[in-house]
């Protein structure tokens, strides 16, 4: 019994409690976030990018993705109807993601093709001077609005 009394004497009084709690609340509203939460910054929102795929029969397919996605990622994530696209899943072992760019787009692509990419490109059907493999092209903000031509697929070849 004596312990309880001692305990209750040590507790701050009700009025004191009220003062403390309101002060804490004010503190929460006015202080900078870094003082009472973790130091890490929230991830910056990735910029959305747009690409238009022009099929051999003239059909235009618009697809969206995020900055840092490769063109193969955009095709897969949007389930763009390009048959057998990306058969090797981006390992530079086939040429099914072959795309044809306009000259000015081809020149402003940030990365030049590696030897492996050129080897696979050599095998591609309808190869042009402005051809690249879609799995190696990473989208940036500047490239948004890109228009690429898709070479003929089996659907175009059949009678």
């Amino acid at each position: 019994m004596a312990n309880v009394v001692a305990f209750s004497r040590n507790l701050p009084s009700f009025r004191a409690l009220k003062y403390l709690s309101s002060a804490l609340l004010k503190y929460q509203h006015t202080s900078a976030p870094s003082q009472c939460s973790s130091k890490t910054q929230p991830l910056p929102k990735k910029q959305a990018v747009e690409v238009t795929f022009i099929r051999a029969n003239g059909e235009r397919i618009k697809a969206t993705g995020k900055e840092g996605d490769s063109l193969l990622d955009i095709v897969v994530n949007n389930s763009v109807d390009l048959e057998g696209y990306g058969a090797c899943e981006g390992t530079l072992t086939c040429s099914t993601c072959h795309l044809i760019f306009k000259k000015e787009d081809f020149d402003r692509l940030p990365d030049k093709p590696t030897d492996e990419e050129l080897d696979m490109l050599d095998l591609a059907y309808d190869l042009t001077d402005t051809s690249r493999l879609g799995c190696q092209i990473t989208m940036t903000k500047e490239l948004s609005g890109l228009e690429v031509q898709v070479p003929a697929t089996v659907n175009d070849a059949r009678s």
Binding site: G84, E89, L92, A152, N155, A157, R158
Partner: protein
Amino acid sequence: MGVFAIFAMLRTQVLEFSWRLKIECRRCKHLSPDELGHKLSADVRQRLANGPGLQEFLSNPSRNWDGYDGKLKREKGESERLRLPPWLKTTIPTGSNYARIRDQLRQLNLHTVCEEARCPNIGECWGGGKHGSATATIMLLGDTCTRGCRFCSVKTSRAPPPPDPSEPVNTATAIAAWGLDYVVLTSVDRDDLPDGGSHHFAETVREIKRQNSNILVECLVPDFRGDLDAVKTIADSGLDVYAHNIETVESLTPYVRDRRARYRQSLKVLNSAKEINPDLITKSSIMLGLGETDEQVHQTLKDLQVAGVDCVTLGQYMQPTKRHLKVVEYITPSKFHHWEEVGNSMGFLYTASGPLVRSSYKAGEFFIASILQKRKVTAK
């Protein structure tokens, strides 16, 4: 009136009765009989009345699929996937044989094309069945290929792991355990290896023959990029049937197969195998349903005949995953029968043709086995 129609009538009557008693079913959205009648068009009601009765679901379904009226062909420009016709539906693989083979393969670190390429016949072949003992087509040189064909779901990589040196012995052990008299071996393409994997393949054949000299071995080999030394290694290894698939007609080959595979190259490989070892039976396979015309298929059969191919199989292309080529046309079983007759009239030793027929078709193997046994007997 079938039982189905009687049931439908009873259901309508129950509904009517419940409405009269003002009993409302709160679980589902019930329509009153008047609404029900108006919801179904006269055409649909007609089809329901003429549709399957209970009998169709009880006994074995009829094998005549001529009455199937679903969409079987995708015209140029159409992008929606076709529904799978009933003659291609297979059962889910289960059973003790299936489990036994699967566990054995995992223990021995072996791969099969049955699993990797998602063959629909896996349940039937691994389970054994009316054709006899269970079998699987072992895929040598790993489960990762160095080519990416648009119809195949086998994994692709630029630099797959090196082949397992104990694979020939493990394969021979597994096959001996299954007690087969005819076995089919296949492999992935290994363009990263200097010999294309041909020595490893040949060693496996020799090991199998060493453990059981009576077993007949069929090898479904890659084209080794046209390397005739590699073809010779396989052709001289002691196998009985040399198989290499032409896959499709000439004009569609660039769009269907990997670009390193070529129509003329494949024909040359088949021809060379025959020239190197005239005792070999050569075999090839065509997938139908990718948009080829009858004339093109006919021409391909003629090209195979000129290349000295003895056996040919024709099967339906089925899309293995969402990412692969969509089926352009589902060829009917009667059309496959027509191709079988064409093949036989052209003088092939054996023509296996059917929607689910694949390169290592079991009944065909029985036939080929009998030919080879006969030859052995006459040679003695």
